[in-house]
């Protein structure tokens, strides 16, 4: 709380989060790795709620896409339910259906769904346009849910405008895209200036996975808190929630604090040489790292063998725990320098094995691309077996 305003200055504190994407699959990874990553998404929910407790916020606003699909497996909604049920809170938590988990007849937000029925009283679901939840006498949350996976409805325009004489802190909550995202079709568009136009003090939105303030400096901030755990390589500024402090002095704009909650880092590395690979292998804690490693180097037999061992160390094996949480290796660029491969074999190797190595070396140099690749690998297999035998 050191960087937060003093309690006496604050009229209201909110935790704003979005885009949990629970139940999201990672089919590009092996099953066990995928399980680790999907589990991570559930684990971060607990940490988010812990932050809410430690910050003693007045409400938690979840701005959509909490689930990756409208009707996820029980594992996911059951996990969230358990997190809510074990906390005996009074502070409201507001769940907003997003475009991934829209409010439809078969979604978990439907009144008949066991998730909805199992939610504690302090957890509220936004289930109609222009939904309102007063936060005491001095604040109110207004929200509109997504009711479909896509659409050009401007949900923010369905939020009621501030009425004359209403001095309460007004917080808007919608899911959608602002107009300034290149390369995307605008889904449930949120026009610039919407916060001011609807008379809001803060517009809590969700959809984009990066933490972003849409109109920096605007008197009423419009904030994307981003995904609390990244969902793919290349995403920046993920792993956060927004803690928002509303000053007692209404002339001052709310203070938005970015708080890290994510555990996993997604990295992409390309190694062009053995020193680079060694340096990577020497790094400390990598157990919560999703590493996409591309090898792009041609090395002699000894280093090829070393590279294989380093990769085995990073990725784990039957005998060793992986050092990297999730490792995805593209080894197509790892090639064996075959010119003097034979010279690196044991000198007292039997003639028949030497002849084998000679044949493979010839094939690795003169064969077609596939033969070359197989011959290189075969040479290394032979090298390892001979070394082991020695």
């Amino acid at each position: 709380m050191s960087d937060a305003p003093g309690d006496s200055d604050v009229a209201l504190t909110l935790l704003h989060t979005a885009d949990w994407h629970l139940g999201r699959r990672f089919p590009a990874f092996e099953r066990e790795q995928e399980t680790r990553l999907t589990r991570a998404r559930l684990e971060v929910v607990g940490r988010i709620l812990d932050v809410a407790e430690s910050r003693n916020v007045d409400a938690v606003l979840c701005a959509g896409d909490l689930f990756d699909e409208p009707a996820p497996a029980q594992l996911w909604w059951g996990g969230v339910l358990k997190e809510f049920q074990r906390r005996h809170w009074q502070r409201p938590v507001v769940l907003l259906p997003g475009n991934h988990d829209p409010l439809t007849s078969n979604s978990i937000y439907h009144q008949a769904h066991p998730f909805r029925r199992g939610l504690p009283r302090y957890v509220h679901v936004v289930d109609e346009p222009g939904w309102e939840l007063p936060l005491g006498d001095n604040a109110v949350v207004v929200a509109s849910p997504c009711t479909s996976a896509a659409g050009d409805t401007r949900l923010v325009e369905s939020l009621p405008k501030r009425e004359a004489g209403d001095e309460r802190i007004r917080i808007g909550l919608v899911h959608g895209q602002t107009f300034d995202i290149d390369g995307h079709q605008t889904n449930f568009p949120i026009p610039r200036g919407s916060a001011a136009e609807r008379g809001l003090d803060y517009l809590a939105i969700g959809d984009t996975h990066a933490f972003r303030e849409v109109e920096p400096g605007a008197s009423a901030p419009t904030i994307y808190p981003g995904a609390p755990e990244a969902t793919s390589f290349g995403e920046k500024d993920t792993g956060n929630v927004a803690v928002v402090f509303f000053p007692l002095d209404r002339r001052r704009r709310p203070l938005v604090h970015r708080e890290a909650v994510g555990a996993w880092k997604w990295r992409e590395e390309i190694c062009h040489s053995m020193p680079e690979l060694r340096a990577l292998a020497d790094e400390g804690e990598l157990s919560k790292t999703v590493l996409r490693l591309t090898l792009n180097m041609a090395v002699p037999m000894g280093e090829y063998d070393e590279a294989e061992r380093l990769l085995a160390s990073l990725g784990g094996s039957l005998a060793a725990t992986p050092r990297v949480g999730v490792l995805n290796v593209n080894r197509e660029g790892l090639r064996l320098m075959t010119e003097d491969a034979i010279a690196q074999f044991n000198a007292d190797m039997p003639d028949v094995l030497r002849a084998t190595a000679q044949r493979l070396q010839t094939l690795a140099q003169d064969g077609d691309p596939q033969q070359k690749e197989h011959a290189e690998r075969a040479l290394h297999h032979l090298y390892r077996l001979v070394q082991d035998a020695a």
């Binding site: 699959r25 659409g151 895209q177 889904n187 197509e332 002849a355 084998t356 197989h374 297999h381």
Partner: protein
């Protein structure tokens, strides 16, 4: 043991009628005199393994004096628990081939038959023989390098020395030898590497090199994941396309709605314009219609004037026509009047002719003839009735005769059946008696069996009881021995061990004190001293001035009278303390044992222990005996029960048997007299058979009785029928006594009546022909004139009708002309013309309309369609927008990207796996190729064993045998000279051939057949070879066919060889005789 022959059975092969030869692993010496058939047996082995049954090479196997086909059955063990039996019969249509498999050599299951067997055999043997069916196969007994080596004729030594793998029909022999010789020669490191590589390859590939699909192999899971990912990617792509398509559809529909709205507006404008034009057109049409009506009126009036004028012309013409018709009628009436008098005259002439007397007489005669004809017909009918009655009587009489015959036949049959019935009853009774006897026997047999069982069980029970007593006695003895052992209070073995350990410890501790002590002194006065050296004490007297010297190991003590005690101990204080402690420990422990055992020495303790051990061993022995006895007595209760039950059963059976006994005969007497009653089950079967027979007879009996009864009843009916028929005949005869005469005369009377009737008929026809010609002529004339009158009458009637028609037409025309004239007088032609002109002027005054007036209905339809289309498109647009909200959007694109990424990742994993296992596979292939190349010179592997043995055999005279890459023997080294085989003696060649064959058999792990070999070797070499064969027979089976068994069955190994006297196994065909009927065994 490697592959070996277990059994060879031969039938009708060459001179052998039958032979059964059992063999064993190791050396088999099959001996018998010349011409017994040893070579035939070798040929039979070759034929069983190599020769298809249809081959002409089987001809030599045929027995020369027997027609039956030769057959061979060979059982061999490929390896432990893989036993094959091949059976072949070589004989044209009667040929067969079977291959059977067994694991235990007893239970065989068929694995193949016919031609497939040869293929299977060659797959098992892999001797380089091509299975039958391929083209270009050589005739004769199939041969290859291996068959020559293992089964070759030793007498044909050149064939063996010249054999080479290059001549093999297929490569299987080469491959097998390569494997075998490589296995001999391969480097262990190479083997280790190859084994590792093969294990890795086997993880992913089948033996055929295909990717494994079994669970645990690396491919299936990846393949399934790829398939799933591909499907997901395809679905996602489809969804994206659907989404894009939905977006495009929305855009397209929006554009279409705009266009449709414009089109609808256009259509509405067109409709309005068309409706105005329509109204103007209607007005013009109405005016034109009025004009047309006026014109019609005018034209109608003008036509009526023209009709009036035309009608007046027609009236004048009709008046002329009527006048002409009147004239025609007058002419016709005149013509008729001329014919009518002629008709009257003709009629009168005919009437006159028909009323004459001649005609009346003719008619009278005709009537008389007809009367006579009628009477004759009546007589004929009466005669026919009489004949019919007589025929009925005759038929009844014949029927009666037939019944009489039937009665006689049936009576005879009935008598036969009654006889059969009596016979069947007699036999049934006899069978029943026999069945009773058998049942008595059976019951007695059952009683005897039960009694025997009861007796046996009682004996067993008694034995078990005795065992129980023995067991109890032994147990008591064991108990007693244990009691004695315990009474000895001997130390336990562990206590003795501990005591020994403490003793040893003590000794060691004491040993440490044994540092060596020496004492020298010179007493001044003579004295006596007690000297103790290391615990051994003696008394010694010293002289004054005597120099005394004592030495001890650890303790030296002198007690000198009057001087004192001098005691010297070895070791320091600690060592002494240690020794004392050890001694004390040992002492205390030993004392406790001594006290308990009541002995004083360690050896006594040991004795006590041994004595106790003996007693305990005795107890154990008693226990074992008791256990054995207990085992024998375990089921004594069960036996007791079984005995009681068996006795009760015997008693029951005895009672059952007694019931079947005849009065005054006891069961025991009957059994004694009967001697062997026979087997109970056989008796039961005999009884059952007899009862079946009785049942069959009773069934026959019932059938016969039924038949007899039925036959009797039918006979009675027939008797009654006969009586009735005879009565009927009597009644008929009473009414017609002359029936036989009537039948006899009937034909003559009928003939006579027929003649008379024919005569009357001819008379009638003659009378009728008498009518006169004159009457006929008059009738013809009348007919002619009547016809003419009719024609003229008709012409007059037609003229009359014509005149009437002309008058009617004239009257009608005159009426019409009058009407037209009256109408024409009332017509106002100028007025009608003026009205028409007025309407024309009105029409000309109306505005002109398009030449092609619009189809208003069409326009209305267009307008409606356009409006409907716009509405429909708007609905579609709404639906498409709705659908877009559900399926479209960034969500789908994210999923598609994700699915694509997954597919790429999986493809990379698949590639990595392909490379990984492709590398292993390539490594394995390359290793094998290198190995093959390394071992191409197969001969090198055999040179050493063959050469060493040859050198040993010849005392180093011959050193190295040359064997080529394809195992062809090339020559032999004598000293420094390389010699060809042609340059060495027959005996040496024979020996080289044997050694080469032996080396091949050893390399392959196969049996070796040697037929009358080494005829050229001297006694010394024979002895060496005998030893060699016995040595080789430790690993492989060697089968020697010889007429000199002593050459192999003497010496150190004679006991281990399996000698087979073939004279006891082979039965030859008698020369010039027929084949024996059964196998010799």
């Amino acid at each position: 043991m490697a592959m070996w022959i277990r059994q060879l059975n031969v039938k009708d092969c060459a001179g052998i009628a039958s032979a059964r030869v059992a063999m064993k692993p190791g050396l088999n010496v099959l001996h018998g005199p010349n011409e017994l058939g040893k070579s035939t047996l070798v040929n039979a082995i070759r034929a069983a393994l190599l020769l298809p049954v249809g081959s002409t090479a089987a001809q030599p196997l045929r027995a020369w004096n027997v027609d039956g086909p030769p057959s061979v059955e060979l059982t061999f063990e490929e390896e432990a628990q893989r036993i094959w039996r091949v059976s072949k019969r070589f004989g044209g249509g009667g040929s067969h081939t079977y291959l059977e498999f067994s694991r235990d050599g007893r239970q065989f299951s068929q694995e193949g038959r016919g031609r497939e067997v040869e293929g299977s055999l060659q797959n098992i043997l892999r001797w380089g023989i091509e299975p039958p069916g391929g083209k270009g196969g050589k005739r004769g007994m199939p041969a290859s390098f291996i068959t020559t080596a293992l089964l070759g004729d030793q007498r044909n030594i050149d064939a063996i020395l010249e054999a080479s793998l290059t001549d093999d029909p297929n490569a299987s022999g080469h491959e097998r030898l390569t494997e075998a010789l490589q296995a001999l020669a391969a480097d262990p490191r190479f083997k280790q590497v190859l084994a590792s590589v093969q294990a890795r390859v086997a993880e992913a590939f089948t033996a055929a090199g295909k990717k494994k699909t079994a669970k645990g192999a690396p491919w299936p899971a990846l393949k399934a994941a790829m398939s799933e990912a591909r499907q997901r990617e395809q679905d996602a792509r489809q969804q994206v396309e659907d989404s894009a398509s939905a977006r495009s559809r929305v855009a397209a529909l929006q554009s279409q709605v705009l266009e449709a709205d414009a089109e609808a507006e256009r259509a509405a404008g067109d409709l309005q314009a068309a409706q105005t034009a329509e109204r103007q057109q209607a007005q013009r049409t109405a005016t034109a219609k009025t004009l047309a009506a006026a014109e019609d009126e005018l034209k109608k009036a003008q036509a009526q004037v023209r009709s009036r004028d035309e009608k007046a012309t027609a009236v004048a013409a009709a008046e002329k026509e009527a006048e002409a018709s009147r004239k025609q009628l007058a002419a016709a009436e005149r013509a008729l009047a001329t014919v009518q008098p002629k008709v009257k005259a003709a009629k009168e002439r005919v009437q006159q002719l028909e009323s004459g007397d001649a005609e009346q007489g003719r008619q009278l005669r005709e009537q008389e003839a007809r009367n006579r004809q009628l009477k004759l017909t009546q007589q004929k009918n009466e005669l026919q009735a009489q004949v019919a009655d007589a025929q009925k009587i005759a038929a009844r009489e014949a029927e009666t005769q037939k019944i009489q015959t039937d009665i006689e036949q049936r009576t005879k049959t009935l008598d036969e059946q009654r006889s059969l019935l009596a016979e069947a009853e007699a036999k049934t009774s006899a069978d029943k008696d026999q069945a009773e006897v058998l049942e008595r026997d059976r019951d007695c047999a059952r009683y005897v069996a039960a009694a025997q069982r009861a007796h046996e069980l009682a004996a067993k029970r008694d034995a078990a009881t005795a065992s129980a007593k023995t067991a109890k006695a032994r147990e008591e003895q064991a108990q007693e021995a244990r009691g004695k052992a315990q009474g000895l209070n001997a130390p336990a073995r562990a206590e003795l061990d501990e005591l020994q350990r403490l003793d040893a410890e003590r000794r060691v501790a004491e040993g440490k004190l044994a540092v060596g002590l020496a004492l020298e002194f010179t007493p001044e006065n003579a004295s006596t001293a007690e000297v103790t050296l290391d615990g051994e004490t003696r008394t010694r007297e010293f002289n004054a001035g005597e120099r005394v010297r004592y030495e001890a190991e650890r303790e030296l003590r002198l007690v000198i009278d009057g001087v004192g005690v001098l005691q010297v101990r070895g070791g320091g204080r600690h060592l002494r303390q240690e020794a004392e402690t050890a001694i004390d420990r040992w002492r205390r422990y030993a004392d406790s044992l001594f006290e308990r055992a009541n002995v004083e020495t360690t050896s006594a303790l040991e004795d006590k222990r041994q004595e106790a051990d003996k007693l305990l061993a005795l107890a154990v022995e008693h226990d074992n005996k008791a256990t054995q006895a207990r085992l024998g007595s375990e089921n004594v209760d069960a036996l007791e029960q079984q005995t009681v039950v068996a006795k009760a059963q015997a008693k029951q059976r005895r009672e059952a048997a007694a019931k079947r006994m005849e009065a005054g005969v006891s069961v025991d007497d009957y059994i004694e007299e009967s001697g062997d009653l026979g087997d109970e089950e056989e008796l039961a079967r005999a009884i059952e058979t007899l009862k079946d027979e009785v049942r069959r007879r009773e069934s026959l009996h019932a059938w016969l009785a039924h038949e007899v009864e039925q036959g009797g009843a039918q006979l009675d009916n027939l008797h009654r029928d006969v009586e009735r028929a005879q009565q009927d005949i009597q009644d008929a005869i009473a009414q017609n006594e002359r029936w036989r005469d009537v039948l006899g005369e009937a034909e003559a009377k009928r003939q006579r009546q027929d003649d008379e009737l024919a005569q009357a008929d001819a008379e009638i026809r003659a009378i009728q022909a008498e009518a006169t010609a004159a009457t006929e002529d008059a009738r013809d004339a009348l007919a002619q004139i009547t016809k003419e009158e009719s024609a003229k009458t008709k012409a007059r009637d037609e003229a009359r009708e014509h005149l009437q028609d002309a008058n009617n037409a004239l009257a009608k025309l005159q009426g019409e002309a009058e009407t037209l004239r009256t109408i024409a007088e009332d017509l106002d032609l100028p007025g009608l013309q003026a009205a028409r002109d007025q309407q024309q002027a009105l029409l000309d005054a109306l505005p002109a309309v398009d030449d092609t007036p619009n189809d208003l209905a069409e326009l209305e339809r267009f307008a409606k369609d356009a409006a409907d289309n716009a509405t429909s498109l708007r609905n579609d647009l709404s639906a498409a927008q709705g659908a877009l909200t559900q399926v479209g959007g960034q969500h789908i694109e994210e999923q598609a990207a994700q699915a694509k990424e997954a597919l790429i990742a999986l493809a990379r994993r698949e590639h990595d796996l392909e490379v990984e296992y492709g590398g292993w596979q390539l490594l394995r292939e390359t290793l094998k190729e290198a190995e093959k190349e390394d071992a191409t010179h197969l001969g090198d592997a055999l040179v050493k064993p063959v050469s060493e043995r040859m050198a040993a055999l010849t005392d180093g005279r011959y050193s190295a045998v040359g064997i080529g890459p394809q195992l062809d023997a090339t020559g032999i080294r004598l000293g420094d000279d390389e010699r060809s085989f042609n340059d060495v003696s027959v005996g040496t060649r024979e020996q080289i051939g044997l050694l080469l064959r032996l080396a091949v058999a050893e390399a392959l792990g196969s049996f070796l057949i040697l037929d009358d070999h080494l005829t050229q070797s001297d006694q010394g070499r024979m002895a060496w070879i005998r030893g060699l064969l016995n040595e080789a027979a430790q690993q492989i089976q060697v089968v020697v066919m010889t007429c000199h068994p002593n050459a192999y069955l003497t010496g150190d190994h004679s006991d281990s060889a399996h000698a087979v006297d073939l004279t006891k196994c082979i039965k030859r065909h008698p020369i010039g005789g027929s084949a024996p009927s059964a196998d010799a065994t």
